[in-house]
Amino acid sequence: MALQRRLLQFINITKPCQKLCGVQSYSAQAASQSDNEEKRKTHFGFETVDEDEKTKKVHQVFETVADKYDTMNDMMSFGVHRVWKDIFMMRFAPTPGTKLLDMAGGTGDITFRYINYLRNQANPDTEKRSSVTVSDINQSMLNVGKARAEKQGYLKNSPVDVDWLCADAEQLPLPDECYNAYTIAFGIRNCTHIDKVLEEAYRVLQPGGRFMCLEFSQLPNSTMQWLYDQYSFQMIPVMGQLVAGQWKPYQYLVESIRQFPDQEKFKLMIEEAGFRQVTYENLTFGVCAIHSGFKL
């Protein structure tokens, strides 16, 4: 008992623990805010900020992390993020003729898997062209993606047409029903208004189109959640400082994960936007989840 207490003191972090309890009550508070309030507040990790400030701050975070983004992802997840994205693509199982909008697609991980999947099909249908629009609100992330695409040869002799679009997921400069698939991997939790993102996704998808989201989520098992919290708060910002020379973006990362709705709540939000046949699948004990829905 005493040992457990000593151990807890050794790795004590008072700020996040308090805030962790605060997460639930905060979400309730945000929901009941009246529309008449002048400056609406939202969360930026565990901080409370004005809504228009959040977009700017998130933008800053990704500007800063862009060039070490992929290295840090590997380090923080011990390479497991690659498996998550592989499974995501397997669940998506695109067929030739798919017109994908890869939102928050930045450095290209999902897009490249999409292109590979279509390339590696047993009997590729050379008649039907597929396409992907890689979109991100942050030009630096897109630049990293473009550079990687060129370097790794995804743009030459490809069955897939690729184009790049710097845009805000809440306000897409795109006509209605122009895509038949929409993916957003590890991006939606950074958006200020998740409901708007879902509405826009619904708008740009054709009937029969599929919405798929890969995002960090909550672990149903509370012991596992505790272990995961310790790893997140004790180690990840430290790794950010050592590898990327930045602490704060990674503190934001682990805090923003706690602020995101859990699997069931997010499923309801997707249904509210109009999607049907909404399902989710937990990966790695619930560290992240794949949500899928159709515009029917």
Binding site: I11, I13, K15, Q234, P237, Q241, L242, W247
Partner: protein, 244 residues
């Protein structure tokens, strides 16, 4: 009357530093400090160009030494004045153009020439992030900003050899673990020719200077720009190893 050469800034210096610290401060517990110590030492050894890792290592391991440095600075008027004024050294507070036009053998001219010859800027010093107490944090910030001046006034180049020698001097005077570690581990990276020079000349000189010289952190350099460098060395009890 010694002349100041300092540009005015909009806030008094101490207010500036405290505000800056509040923005930059990151709370860390013992476990995280341990990880940061091991990690930053490793990264710094593998990649000496990661100055931010040396900075991190210094902050995370240096609290006790910084308290000692502060006590030592308070022992005389000049040091106490620094702690009261909290002056900063960067391109906003120092007019390098004016310094480079001073007579040849003045401290200010030596410093300006040193910065130009080694192609370094006074703006590259990172703000303190992991120390809460502003008085102690300032001592760390000052140590960082004064480091180039220590180099310049000791006539030590920014080669590995010069850096290691300066680290020994600073380590002996400040007791900062990062300096002591840097002196030992940095020396391990020296190539054979430099290692010979290090063992025969630089190391003995650095140890002697560290012990004999006055406390270099307690020198209000900004008030001594036009002091003759020979007088400066005599006053601070520094015996030169090389000429400029």
């Amino acid at each position: 009357m010694r002349a100041f050469i300092r540009k005015l800034s909009s806030f008094p210096k101490s207010k500036n530093f405290r505000e800056e610290l509040e923005i930059n401060y990151i709370p860390t517990n013992l476990f995280q400090k341990t990880l940061l110590t091991i990690g930053s030492a490793t990264v710094a050894l593998l990649d000496p160009y990661r100055g931010d890792m040396i900075a991190c290592l210094g902050e995370v391991t240096g609290e006790a030494s910084l308290k000692f440095m502060r006590e030592r600075m308070l022992e005389n008027n000049e040091g106490a004045e620094i702690l009261r004024d909290m002056p900063r050294i960067n391109s906003q507070t120092i007019c390098f153009k004016t310094l480079s036009e001073l007579p040849e053998d003045t401290l200010g001219r030596v410093y300006a020439d040193f910065m130009k010859e080694n192609d370094i800027t006074a703006d590259s010093r990172l703000p303190v992030q992991f120390i809460n107490d502003p008085d102690i944090a300032y001592v760390m910030q000052r140590y960082r900003e004064v480091h180039d001046l220590v180099h310049a006034s000791l006539f030590m180049k920014t080669t590995m050899l010069g850096e290691v020698a300066v680290k020994w001097v600073e380590g002996i005077q400040t007791k900062l673990p990062m300096c002591i570690g840097g002196g030992i581990w940095g020396a391990a990276r020296l190539k054979p020719k430099h290692r010979q020079l290090y063992l025969k000349y630089y190391l003995p000189w650095a140890i002697k200077t560290g012990h004999n010289a006055k406390f270099l952190q307690g020198i209000y350099y900004e008030k001594r720009w036009d002091q003759n460098i020979n007088d400066f060395h005599k006053e601070m009890n520094i015996s030169r190893l090389t000429e400029r």
